[in-house]
Symmetry: C2
Subunit: 220 residues, 2 copies
DNA sequence: ATAATAGTGTCTTTTAGACATTATATT
DNA sequence: AATATAATGTCTAAAAGACACTATTAT
């Protein structure tokens, strides 16, 4: 039994790049320049280059760099989508990733279209399923982790943090309880800075995420 | 840009088949009959057959049938492990699955070796990483779901259920609290049967899992 | 002073943990 | 009756939710 005896599937990496714009979760789509589905908006992604990429994380980093110009975007593997019918070119494997980025970092990514996730319909391939999986992962894991902090800039106010959690979880949170939790979990540290002044508003203190993405054993 | 321009990786499905024997979590390993790592114990798995399998779930079902003789084993996708160095045959993708089965169903699987998960060392390829991922998933998700019920036979007593949760979570649970939770969550239904009599012991009532695997928003 | 949001304090309700007690089977 | 485990009840402690209140900034 040799590997060469088997016809090999096509292997791609597809990335669900999520961000928050105007208090709503958006996904970054790119118009396809080549068939199949040429001209349609789709998730960003590309073939695994076995000569160039030593693993799929390198494929993903390469894809993100090509589409956004950014290094060091947070991403994690979601799941793989594989089968005979999902790609007209033949039996294929898509190793799907979720990436999170604060919208401010995407200002120069003119090639990308940001679409509200709940308005996106009819993506090519099984990209709608992949998008659903990413949103599901963020909603599910978000409530138990600091994952949503990846959608905020490096420094942020607690009201901004609360709002991101509310967006991700789809519920309103009580300010007092939310702050109690954040304090107990010790996931942020206060800076001595405050947000930029706005008309008729008290500026909030700026905080910074402590370490990487942390998991809790309870909901926020 | 055509698919054919790229050299394609090898694609396999590897399955971490877990069960509980003597109150301890075990993994099913098979001795490899072909190179590489011929003669060593490894996770069960095999190549994706693009002509035969319409998706990877079919690959996994085929692998489980071949190694255990069983259909309808619970399994779920874990993650994919991919890269240039994990397989000496070249750039490869392993789509890893976790499967859970009650030990009683494995009585005839003579080709499989059941090893306690915390005693297994030095598996070939990156199978140790894959095993760790499966055990981590079971421990993590187990506390928030009915996943551990898949390790029990169709009918089971509440003390047996509690013990499986204790094994999976690695802690002792208070009987009263555990039963309160199970009752609140309404995840099992009582039968009118009782377990087989044992010396000097009151037999426990038999219960049955209600639907498939359910998630909670709290720990058991 | 007023508007607006940031941030805190306190009471209530819910949930979880500890642990004693009762129940029922076998020998 | 004795033993062993199944099953339940009750009290305490901790966590979460509701909501009023205070603080600080810009106008």
């Amino acid at each position: 039994m040799q590997a060469d005896n088997f016809e090999k599937p096509i292997v791609t990496a597809d990335v669900v790049l999520l961000t928050i714009v105007d208090r709503r979760l958006h996904v970054a789509l790119a118009r396809r320049k080549v068939p199949p589905f040429e001209g349609e908006e789709a998730l960003i992604g590309g073939f695994v280059h076995v000569d160039e990429d030593k693993d799929v994380d390198e494929t993903v980093a390469r894809v993100l760099m090509a589409k956004t110009g950014l290094k060091k975007i947070y991403f994690e593997q979601l799941a793989s989508f594989a089968g005979r019918l999902r790609d007209p070119r033949g039996w294929s494997v898509s190793i799907a990733y979720m990436a999170l980025v604060p919208a401010v970092r995407l200002v120069d990514s003119t090639a990308l279209m940001l679409r509200p996730v709940d308005e996106v319909r009819g993506l090519p391939f099984d990209h709608s399923d992949i998008l659903d999986a990413a949103v599901g992962r963020l909603r599910g894991k978000g409530a138990y982790s600091t994952l949503p902090m990846q959608l905020l800039d490096r420094k942020f106010t607690l009201p901004a943090l609360q709002e991101v959690y509310e967006q991700v979880m789809g519920v309103n949170l009580d300010t007092s309880s939310f702050r109690r939790k954040i304090a107990e979990l010790e996931v942020v540290e206060a800076t001595d800075e405050f947000e930029a002044p706005a008309p008729r508003k008290r500026p909030g203190r700026l905080y910074r995420a402590k370490r990487g993405v942390l998991m809790f054993d309870r909901t926020i």
